[in-house]
Amino acid sequence: MRTAFFKLIRLVVVVFIVTFLSFSMLKLQEATTGSTIIEKIAPFGSPAAKQQLADSLHLDDPFFVQYGRWLGNAVQGDFGLKYTGTGDNATTGTPVSTIVGKKLPVSIELMIYAQILALLFALPLGIYTAYRNGSRFDKITNIVMFAMLAMPAFLAGLALQLWAAKNPNAGFPTQYTGVDDFPLTPFTGENFKQMLLPTVSLAIAQIAVYMRLLRSDMIATLQEDFITTAKSKGIPARRVLMRHAFRPSSLTLLTVAGLNVGALIGGAIIVEQIFNLPGIGDELVRSILGSQVIETQAIIAIIAIIYVLVNFLVDILYTVLDPRIRHARAIA
């Protein structure tokens, strides 16, 4: 329990530093690119509106005061605005928190789908090729996986998009063109159509990563003495594989998959871009293109916080899963 406490402390510290860094970058870019924040977020605003904005944002306050204010607001869920007005209305916009609230679920859903798909293929393939190490199936699978590894998400995405364009009868849209809220409910036709291609694009490389990890761990585990012991007890091969070999071998895979949960939320950015999915990554890009630096920085901070949180949870989960670590820490 003590270590969990320390980890929590560390988590909080890291969150602080992460938000601080993202905030600093925001201010830094004034120095390096020369244009002010106001110019970026409200280029079409009237001078009066710009002045109003500058006042309301307290941009002249000392750096740490600004950061403190930002942090204070963020804790309450106020991440500022995405400015959409022009002229005198340049001070108006939509709260970032609202936008994030709508877009984050899309990314999360995409990430969950991609993970499920990847594990669905990687688990059986990894186990079987480890068991039949060196067989023809194993060799062929390895070559295929090697190619799949070289297939980054954007390549797969573009390829699939092309296929969808050339095969309209299949019913998959090349991009999301909806205006209303994205159809989030799983197992509906619309959700399936919109999500399938992006999911597959993300999953292709992941399948290869997971499968190779699992396979290599399984092969190593299968050479361990306790597998021979299990065999010598008369236990059938399938049970040895699943009950004895898989559990110790799955730890790395689980950790990696867990970490991918955090990583994919940010990393799905490209796929979201390609398929025009209204996820948080896509929103990040829009904010960049629209020079909405306040929103950009907020999204970066949010994604980073999620990432940090997920990693922390994986760390805890890891301790729970491996009894050796649990007891080693208890003794230590």
Partner: protein
Amino acid sequence: MSPRRRRSNIGTERFEPAPLDGPLLEVKDLKTAFKTPRGLARAVDGVTFSLERGRTIGIVGESGSGKSVLSRSIMGLLPRNNIVRSGQALLEGHDLVTASDEQLRALWGSQMAMVFQDPMTSLNPVMKIGNQITEVLRQHLDITKDYSRELALALLQSVGIPEAERRLNEYPHQMSGGMRQRVVIAIAIACGPKLLFADEPTTALDVTVQAQILDLLQEQQRERFMAMILVTHDLGVVASRADDIAVMYAGRVVETAPTRTLFRAMSHPYTEALMRSIPKLSAPSHTRLTAIGGRPPDIIDPPPGCKFSARCPYVQDKCRTEEPPLLDSAEPHHAFRCWFPVGTPENRAALEANQRAGLASAMAMMGAN
């Protein structure tokens, strides 16, 4: 149906029980070779012995003598790829060498079991002890989960583990080496096998614990009337615990005899060398340890003649060209593989000749007689 039984899904590939006369295990000219890029490595090169029910045979040899391969080969635990086996290993008349995987699986755990060398690695680290025992029970016996736990508890107690109830839910790393080995033994004897292989069961343990484990094995063997094959490099281990001893060198049995006979009338130079290398309490302190000079022969491309000739203090030309066959001695059940066995006048003459010629291994014997 009795409440202690459950629907059986155990495979039906079993051997019919064999008649109770005749030895439990007969190994006939068993050979096991590994395919390597350099050629065929003959780890076991023609081993023959038989084992009666309830008796213990000790197989003694140094690393690389093939003793571990032998036990695994008899049991059938070696992988199938790149391994060539010939000969027979008859368990109650059924040949293990040609048995199918299914047949072997029905035998493993229930008719024959093995206690492995390193208890640290031979237990599943992420599985509770209790489950590792009940697993083998439920695999071969038609019993309920609860009953299997009762049996597991009783087994742990019978191998001398204190607080057995608590241990059932613990993991291997929470126990000491000696205790882990007791668990391994419990797992091995769980289904009452007729034949137990103990492959260097105490090598990885503290000296203080070794005797306890060996005692435990012996006690369990007697209580359950198991035959045991005790594989070790340490003659001291088998001295008081084996009925018969087979000394292995370079994949062959070079001497075999009942224990007392062996210690009283050993005939093979290698056996003698092993005996000498045991440190003796009665010797003054700082006495040099007697090692056997030289190294084991190459098992892929072995030299002709007797395999021990390179290290033997009594070697003569005949030894280098002709391999001695396993010959019976005057003593009952005693056989050895040597042209100039220890204790014979020819042997002494050979030694003196070698000492005059300055042969290193013979020189090392000067003053030791």
